[in-house]
């Protein structure tokens, strides 16, 4: 299930503007890796190159390699649609399909893949909602629209939707930034459980969150506005927060950053 991600020499562009420059890193399976760094440093862009969502934005293109186990996501015959089925994603703002019920939201990905048997769908939906710690809250109103849930519940619904298709990797782009502290806590607990089954990469602005949930942390920075973002260092979370090897990381973490 969970797979290793191996990135080498990856740069991403918006038109002619280079957003991130020459990034290489390894993400271990069944672990949580957090990306931190100031706004505009390209951490979200980098995250979106890991499931080929970057090229969806107008003018977006990528150079370099991303190996999922041994297969290059940017290989010549690779279908981006297949990549996104293998590498799931949860977004900054909860985005359930507004016209669909809770059940249909979770089942959406399976239906795309051709599962239509009611009982099978119901099984997976229940398992996914349980996996997202949402089952008990919604089991009596599976046919109600997903947009009627609270923000935190909607975000867990989106997580359930993402894990229902059994991806190998789960990408999370600031999943808690639109949520209140209690919902945030619920999601963080969930991340701890999900890493038993998935490789998880999370972008966060909240350094405490990175320290709480992640095993490894990567620090991104940019030299100046308009310059491409770079990976400064990646290491065990404990080391990054106690004794980073680069001065810039320490400055950022201790708040001495401009």
């Amino acid at each position: 299930m969970a797979k290793r991600i191996d990135v080498s020499g990856l740069s991403a562009y918006y038109g002619s503007h280079r957003a991130i420059d020459d990034i290489s890193m390894t993400v271990e399976p069944r672990s949580v890796t957090a990306f931190i760094g100031p706004s505009g440093c390209g951490k979200s862009t980098f995250l979106r190159t890991l499931n080929r969502m970057h090229e969806v934005t107008p003018g977006g293109r990528v150079e370099g390699k991303v190996l999922l186990d041994d297969e290059n996501l940017y290989g010549p015959n690779v279908d981006p649609v297949a990549v996104r089925r293998t590498v799931g994603m949860v977004f900054q703002r909860p985005n359930p399909f507004p016209t669909m019920s809770i059940f249909d939201n979770v089942a959406a990905g399976l239906r795309l893949n051709g599962t239509v048997r009611k009982s099978e769908l119901a099984d997976v939906v229940e398992r996914s909602l349980k996996g997202a710690n949402l089952w008990n809250e919604v089991k009596d109103r599976l046919n109600k629209p997903g947009s009627g849930l609270s923000g935190g519940q909607q975000q867990r619904l989106c997580i359930a939707r993402a894990i229902a298709v059994e991806p190998d990797v789960l990408l999370m782009d600031e999943p808690c930034s639109a949520l209140d502290p209690i919902s945030t806590l619920a999601i963080e607990d969930l991340i701890g459980e999900l890493k038993e089954r998935f490789t998880i990469v999370i972008v966060t602005h909240n350094m405490q969150q990175a320290a709480r949930v992640s095993d490894r942390t990567a620090f991104f920075n940019l030299a100046a506005v308009g310059q491409p973002g770079k990976l400064i260092e990646i290491d065990e979370t404990e080391r990054i927060f106690s004794n980073p090897s680069v001065q810039a990381t320490e400055d950022y973490i201790s708040g001495r950053f401009g």
């Binding site: 996501l73 290989g75 010549p76 015959n77 690779v78 279908d79 297949a82 089925r85 190998d168």
Partner: protein, 359 residues
Amino acid sequence: MSHAAIQDTPTPLPPSAGGKSLSSRGLPRWAPAGFAVVGILVGVGIGAAAGLDSKVQWGLIAVVAFLVTSYVTTTVVENQRQARDRLATSIVWVCFILAVIPLFSLLWTTISRGVKSLDPYFLTHSMSGVLSSQAGGGVYHALVGTLEQVAIATVIATPIGLLTAVYLVEYGKGALARAVTFFVDVMTGIPSIVAGLFILSIMLMADIQQSGLMGSLALTILMIPVVVRSTEEMLKLVPNELREAALALGVPKWRVILKVVLPTAIGGITTGVMLAVARISGETAPIILLVFGSQLINTNPFDGPQSSLPFYIFEQYKVGEVAAIDRAWAAALVLIAFVMILNLVARGIARWKAPKTGR
């Protein structure tokens, strides 16, 4: 699962647990073009072989052949999901082409048949003394009529439309504004012939005779909502900070609107008015009822029947003689050129004068 690994992909497959593969055997990029060629060949082939004389049938066969080829090939080579995706893409392309064909056919016919009789003589002479079956004659009287009728309608409709839009954006609140907004929308949908009948019923009651002015009044009704709508959109684009900045200087509101808001939006407003002019220039139905048409030059829009370009086209078409049909196409070319130039200039102004806050 539909995306199960296909064994003969060029890259060696890793023995992954889920048995999923990211790569798949795909059709080359030029495949859609290939399908299109196949479709066209089949269409032409069957069409010619079966001796179908209507090109519409050839085209339909080609379309069906194109859709079937792309769906079946993609199902076989890739998978059904891809096939469905490709089918949707193909249909969407076909829709676009279907819309373009009539446009080009129409423009091509109008131009190629219109230039036959279009010359300076045609533009400077009326139909006075020309039998409808004869060649010769011209469109001058209709041109004069159209220009006068449209000018009068514009002079009446523009201020009313502008002021209504100003009311809706700057002053309007409550039930009245909501009612006006709603009825502007509804008014946009009034068929031109109904506007004509309305003026006609007034004429019947007040015993007024046909004249260019009556036509103008009907055109005014058609023009006002278009002007209101486009002006409203433009005024809404003017940023509020601009208004507040001026109001904070102690300038009265009406002067803010006249000196700040309207000048900022003037480019878009001009565009809207010109598009509205283009729209009413081609209206025929009210003219039939209210202006009645004439073979002679009548420069007085307030008295007696006049002609107009669209009316002239209809009139000549109805005659049915070769010479008359030629005149109809020539007049159509004049009208279409007039309308298209208005459109192009209007859109040019819109682009050139677009407020910087626009998207």
